[in-house]
Amino acid sequence: MTLELRSINKRFGDRDVLRNLDLSVADGECVALLGPSGCGKSTALRLIAGLDDPDQGSISINGENVVAIPAERRRVGMVFQSYALFPHLNVRKNLELGLRIRGSRAAERDERISNILEVLQLQNQAEQLPSQLSGGQRQRVALARALLRDPLVYLLDEPMSNLDAQLREELRPELKRLMIGGSQPVVYVTHDQQEAMALADRIALMRNGRIEQIGTPQELYHRPETVVVAQFIGRPQMNLLKPQNGVMVGIRPEDIRLDQQGVSCRLLSREWHGASQMLLVESERGPLRIVCAGDQTISEQIQVNWERSDEHQFDLDSGRRLSD
């Protein structure tokens, strides 16, 4: 199954929220829409789901244009950021409502629901109301509801942004196992680059309603097409050196190493993370972030160096990558 968006435009009032958006997601592929808040990620999902209509452009699922099909019959499984569980129904009835409306028989409903409750380890919560569940449990109910929809496409709108960091990491493999890698295309919205890199086959980095760059996580990391992409992908952020002759040079903190023959720097601050540590230093080419091994001893004055081939060069005016 495939999903294809072609030259989508969407305005709200006099604001262009999506401009000429193209996106195609292959059979079983997971594409992450990554970008700062307000860049139009949720809007893109709502258009695919049919909750809003595009002003221009076409949306096809399996090659069939679905713009005219109302959301009720579009067969997408969506997980909302707020989970949007029905607060007056217990977990079982939350899952049952849609199945019943779509005409599945009572015996079949019961079987499917108890299966999915077991898969998601929610058997003991079946009779509880959403308000009695923990954040992680609510999230799993929302996943279960989307799975039971038998969708043609999965849409996930920041499904883990309301969970704490540890729970997020625990849920990632589960999400991968259940939704990603089936035959349905998955569009995964997030503003967390780590999550995008962990889950997605390709990442579409969005900014101001446009896709800035789309590619595999490796492509975005090793060959960012613009300064914005370079700054968004990879933590800690890429260093941008003082521009010279209209060229801006970027170097990743993890590509910098300590070297007696290198540029001398003064240590400003230091964060220790266990396996690694992050140094902030002042050099003649501007402030630098450096990542090095956690057991390295660091003095006030250090010398650093990097390979010329690890440098990323961007045009100062356009911010575009200069080919090397």
């Binding site: 909750l51 009720e72 949007a84 029905f86 849609g98």
Partner: protein
């Protein structure tokens, strides 16, 4: 804590004393009402009630009329107001504020100023002397208030709920039935009670639209009792009518008190 209870007792006395007074009056003989020297045991009587119920038409007739009228107005108002309120939350953002302004203005408008115009309408369309027809202006007059309360309730629901239900395949009607209605039930109950109260108490329109004595509503009938004699006010009969007229409302409030309190305090349904 002690200070609080003192205030509560004071407030209870303040609001309940007049009702207790009416209750006592309704069981007191007419003679004892004006003569304090009559001994305690000879002051009491059921005569006022007996009179009321044996008059022509009997008093329960007015109770029945008012109950029917109020019930019809309530049903009509809620049936129209719930879909309308849902629609009001779905119209484009730039329209919502002006529409709300108009609705608030309509809700605050003193309806008494309309009663001549309404009477004219009743004449034109032969709507006089019909309880069913009287429910029309009643629900029209209560519509703005009902819309305000129900729109607020729907807007207070968690976002995305309606969208999630759409993606689950629920049609507009199914969403109203299975998601919206259960969630706004408390607000609907308190709205219904307010509409019911209005219809139960309304006087000027009922006075002008109804003239057949077997169709009168409670307030009009009570006014007739109060003004039945030029020389004396029938306090006892009047008090008995008040007591009887309050009973259906008390029953209603007792039945729905949980929903009403929840609807008035709201916010208990966030998921």
């Amino acid at each position: 804590m002690r200070r609080h209870s003192a205030w509560i007792v004071l407030l209870l006395i303040w609001s309940l004393a007049p009702m207790l007074w009416q209750l006592l009056t309704s069981f007191t003989t007419s003679a004892a009402l004006v003569d304090g020297s009559i001994p305690f045991l000879q002051r009491w009587t059921l005569n006022h009630y007996r009179e009321l119920l044996s008059s022509n038409p009997p008093f329960w007739r007015y109770l029945a009329n008012s109950s029917m009228l109020a019930a019809m107005s309530t049903v009509l108002t809620t049936l129209l107001a719930i879909p309308a309120a849902y629609a009001l939350t779905k119209i484009p953002k730039q329209w919502r504020q002006p529409v709300r302004f108009v609705v608030i203005a309509a809700a605050l408008f003193p309806y008494v100023l309309l009663f001549l115009a309404l009477l004219e309408l009743a004449r034109q369309f032969h709507l006089g002397n019909s309880l069913l027809a009287l429910a029309l202006p009643y629900s029209a007059l209560q519509m703005p208030l009902a819309l305000l309360l129900l729109t607020a309730a729907i807007e207070g629901l968690p976002v995305d709920l309606d969208d999630a239900a759409r993606l689950e395949g629920l049609s507009l009607r199914q969403r109203l039935r299975w998601v919206m209605l259960p969630l706004i039930a408390p607000a609907t109950a308190s709205t219904a009670i307010l509409v019911f109260l209005f219809a139960w108490n309304e006087y000027p329109i009922a006075l002008t639209w109804l003239s057949r004595s077997d169709l009168l509503t409670l307030p009009v009938a009570m006014a007739r009792i109060a003004g039945s004699s030029i020389y004396s006010v029938p306090y006892g009969a009047y008090a008995a009518a008040t007591v009887l007229g309050a009973i259906p409302l008390l029953v209603l409030v007792l039945l729905f008190q949980r929903q009403i309190v929840r609807g008035l305090t709201n916010g208990a349904i966030k998921g």
